[in-house]
């Protein structure tokens, strides 16, 4: 039996072989490395996303902690940033005394994270109860104020004259605001 292959068939076969080679070369040289790159990128994305999720959950935890801490200590935080107003302080606490006067605030002294202002106080009281009430009220005032030694009590007719020093504490950032003002 005679097998005859036409010239056209040879062309077609040759072209098909060339094309097959091109396809293989393209697949192995370009497509497969690109697929690998894609797979690596996908894996990397998942890894980074997991890592970011962990950071996000840590962020949420810290954020909630800060939020709760701020809510629980609203008064304390506000008290450290409120600028001491001697007139307001006198107005609020004068009710415990017959007479109540404050000296000017001194220049602040840095004590770690806080600036401390000193203010001298002179009062006249009917009975020590006024002084006790003042010490209770001072813990609820707009600023963080401590009453310090020395404390001097002296009888003055039917009243008691007292003088003492108070320390007003402010967070250091307040100092910057005050100096700017």
């Amino acid at each position: 039996m005679k097998f005859h292959i036409s010239r056209q068939m040879i062309y077609i076969l040759s072209l098909s072989v060339v094309f097959l080679i091109v396809v293989f070369v393209f697949a192995f040289a370009v497509l497969i490395p690109m697929g690998k790159e894609y797979r690596v990128a996908r894996m990397e994305t998942k890894k980074v996303a997991y890592h970011v999720d962990l950071i996000q959950s840590e962020y949420d935890k810290v954020y909630n902690k800060l939020k709760n801490l701020k809510a629980d200590n609203r008064h304390v935080i506000g008290a450290y940033t409120t600028i001491f107003n001697a007139d307001r302080f006198t107005k609020v606490h004068a009710q415990h005394f017959e007479s109540f006067s404050l000296s000017e605030l001194t220049t602040p002294v840095q004590e770690g994270d806080f600036a401390t202002y000193e203010v001298n106080t002179s009062t006249l009281i009917n009975s020590p109860q006024g002084f006790y009430d003042f010490l209770d009220a001072v813990n609820k005032s707009d600023n963080i104020v401590s009453v310090n030694f020395p404390i001097h009590f002296e009888r003055d007719a039917n009243l008691i004259k007292s003088s003492f020093t108070m320390h007003v504490y402010a967070a250091n950032q307040q100092e910057n605001n005050t100096s700017q003002e």
């Binding site: 056209q8 970011v52 800060l66 304390v76 994270d113 020590p128 010490l135 001072v138 020395p150 009888r155």
Partner: protein
């Protein structure tokens, strides 16, 4: 005049077999290029996504550090405020106790309170009254107590009582 009995065949540059072959070649090439484009675009998208996620992670980390700083500072403020409030309350209790200590028979005219020192000025009907009713409790609180008496015209005594706390002994 016709030299052939058949109708001449129209000759084209590319035969139908080649056309079919090129059609399949183009489809195959198209699929390959589409796959390549798909992979390339997806890889670029993932890389962009990674960069965005990394930037977000860094920003979250910075925020966490800043919030932790804020938390630490609030804790310090809270602790400091509690210390101040406690010291005011302790001061109130100390003064309360001091005034409760003074018996009805003794009248104080002046009191100086310092950190480790208490000086009382007053009037007592007799030295014994002072010693039994005021000096005894003062001695139980302070490490050293010194009293000076001054006789008055009405037979009473004015006194100056100096009381000291020794810090070293207090620590022990």
């Amino acid at each position: 005049m016709r030299n052939s009995f058949i109708k001449p065949r129209v000759k084209t540059l590319i035969s139908p077999e080649f056309k079919l072959l090129f059609f399949f070649f183009s489809i195959t090439l198209g699929m390959l290029l589409t796959s390549y484009a798909f992979l390339k675009i997806k890889a670029v998208m993932y890389e962009t996504n990674i960069a965005e996620l990394q930037a977000k992670g860094e920003s979250l980390k910075t925020d966490i550090i800043s919030m932790n700083g804020e938390i630490a500072f609030i804790e310090i403020e809270k602790q400091h405020a509690e210390g101040v409030y406690t010291s005011n309350t302790v001061l109130k209790e100390s003064i309360h106790n001091l005034f409760d200590l003074v018996p009805q028979k003794i009248t104080l005219s002046k009191a100086d309170l310092k950190e480790d020192e208490l000086v009382l000025y007053g009037v007592t009907p007799s030295k014994e009254v002072y010693e039994f009713l005021l000096l005894a409790p003062l001695r139980s609180i302070f490490h050293r107590s010194y009293t000076s008496y001054y006789a008055m015209d009405n037979g009473w005594y004015s006194f100056v009582s100096k009381n000291y706390l020794d810090r070293e002994l207090a620590v022990k």
